[in-house]
């Protein structure tokens, strides 16, 4: 998994320790701990995983094995406006792939990457359950339904000056 380094500050370490403690430093709570730490840091760089391993008394390899197994966890920071294109079946048959290609073409980054200015990142999402609106794109928490390739430009325009 490609990753970005993070230099932890002392209170970052404290935060991770607190999170682990809130789950009784129980190794079985690894996934819950990772959810909470990712919520806090936005991603799970190696440095954070090492602290989590220490906090739960498990090996770093094990933590890394779990992080790389689940698609929800990421070792890369997301863009300020994370773009998620639903590639569930309903969206697929209604043209999600073309929409995804258009985002990739305009932003010049691949899936899983962030633009060099840190503004946008593109990920694929499994079904969000809004199949009635297929194809669906999410930018942060905002959902766009029935997106067309033409609509891609319009969506990006909303964030142009931010």
């Amino acid at each position: 998994m490609t990753s970005v380094k993070l230099k932890l500050k002392e209170n970052d370490v404290k935060k991770i320790q607190e999170i682990c403690k809130s789950f009784n430093n129980e190794p079985g709570e690894l996934i819950n701990v990772l959810h909470k730490t990712q919520e806090y840091f936005g991603y799970l760089p190696a440095e954070v995983q090492e602290e989590v391993a220490e906090g739960l008394g498990i090996s770093v390899a094990k933590v890394y094995g779990v992080v790389t197994f689940y698609s929800f966890f990421t070792m890369l920071p997301k863009g300020r406006y994370p773009i998620s294109v639903c590639t569930g079946t309903a969206c697929y048959v209604r043209g999600a792939e073309k929409v995804l290609d258009e985002f990739k073409r305009i932003l010049k980054v691949a899936v899983g990457e962030t633009t060099p200015d840190g503004k946008y990142s593109i990920t694929c999402l499994r079904c969000v359950g809004a199949c009635g609106l297929a194809p669906v794109v999410m930018v942060g928490d905002k959902t766009y339904g029935r997106v067309t390739t033409d609509g891609v430009k319009d969506i990006l325009k909303e964030y142009e000056n931010e």
Binding site: M1, E50, V60, A61
Partner: protein
Amino acid sequence: MELIKLTIDNRAVEVEKGTTVFHAAKKLGIEIPTLCYMNLADLNIEHKPGGCRVCVVEVEGRRNLAPSCATECNEGMVVKTNSMRVLNSRRTVLELILSDHPFDCLICAKSGYCDLQNMAIKMGVRSIPYQGEKSTYKPDFSPAIIREMDKCIMCRRCETMCNDFQTVGVLSGINRGFEAVVAPAFERDLDHSECTYCGQCVAVCPTGALTEVDHTPQVIRALADPTKTVVVQTAPAVRAALGEEFGLEPGTLVTGKLAAALRRLGFDYVFDTDFAADLTIMEEGSELLDRLGRFLGGDKSVKLPMLTSCCPGWVNFFEYNFPDMLDVPSTARSPQQMFGSIAKSYFADKIAVDRKEMVVVSIMPCVAKKFEASREEFKVDGNPDVDFSISTRELAALIKGANIDFNTLPDEDFDKPLGESTGAGVIFGVTGGVIEAAVRTAYELHTKKTLEKVDFKQLRGLEGIRSASVDFDGVEIKIGIAHGLGNARKLLEDIKAGKSEFHAIEIMACPSGCIGGGGQPLHHGDSSILKARSKAIYTEDELKVLRKSHENPYIIKLYDEFLGKPMSEKAHHLLHTHYFARKLKHIDID
């Protein structure tokens, strides 16, 4: 016990309840092939992830094929292990595995020993119909182990050894699907992990994914260099296993042939690490007596139990995992390093060779020894005490490469002075042996009485953690023994918690000690081989005239001529070491 009747390939068989189809078939002489299943029954290691799917069989009434390694027999079960459906599936699965495997078999380090290769031969695979993308990974060259994960077939045996048995926890399955592979955290090199180089992953890997670093070219070069005096030492466990590489029965002792072979390979002096094992007992035994004496005398500052320190995998393990307990193990160096140190001082002086012109090669059942030999603290002005450490397997390759017909070699003796040893030195090769050897000497030194019965059977066996007490003439000495680092961890945790009642503990990283080392001929998951090797070691001990280290005349002479007495300043300088806290932290805190 409940018995179950079933039919396999139209033949009836009766097995105990809980038996798997795999073992039931074995009972009928049907060898179902498998790549991931591993059963080291005597060590309580059974690995049956049901992942390779090569061992699938047809069970009547079941929708799909069943993995025989994980499927328990039921009353009345009807099993087919060689129907068209099974054979086609098995072949297809094998072809799939091969389609994601490099085709460099001719030059692969595992060639000839590879389970995957053997299976392809057995099944007569002549083409790979399902070509496609292959996994590629950067090879990882550490000081002792090479990882070429392109060759990994995801049997996960290494993970079981590293995590469950050794509790080292360096390896984990990572990623998923086609990208899934076994790797250290963040896919760093082993060199940047907390790997102890115990080599158990190497010992169980069915393919060439995990192999030891090959030092034979350097050895050949040294042997060919007329300016070098090449001295070889060979560890106790080697003689109990080397024969397997030449088709001899497991447990065949080949001590004499081994010495002969080394001589024919061109080593200038053929010595025995057993000599250094005797020396280790002198130092370690004295240290134990010293600590014990002070402890019994009421000195509270004394650390007990004392732990043995001759296993380099174990030393790495406690340096990483118990950095706050570095004063617990004995400071005595391992036999390999004691040998190197003495060879390049005492012996070099004796034959008037500059240490820089002397090359010390060790033959070890171990891959961690490679790392140990490279440690900075075992170098003098940059010149290592042991130049190259090669495994039993590497030695076999050297012998084969030199056109030596091993099996017809005469029995020869080791050279003197560093080739003479006692039975105490030999049993270093098996779990419990070091502490038994130490007891033989410590008893006599402590009680000043002659030990009549030298066999301490209570210290032997294959159980992971054992305890026994020995009567030192009225003083009861409590002894703990562990082999396998997972077992060692338990004893260490007890000490940490102040719960340990032992005076001395022997620890070996590998299952059943050095005879099951990571550098030994592959046992392919058959633990009866380990038992046979263990038996051979004790036989060699019994055959020795001298069975107590302090009775070794050349050891006595060494102290007389050179070291003075055990624990002397010179002995400290040459034969003892200190340990480092090596907890890895990659975190920079601002």
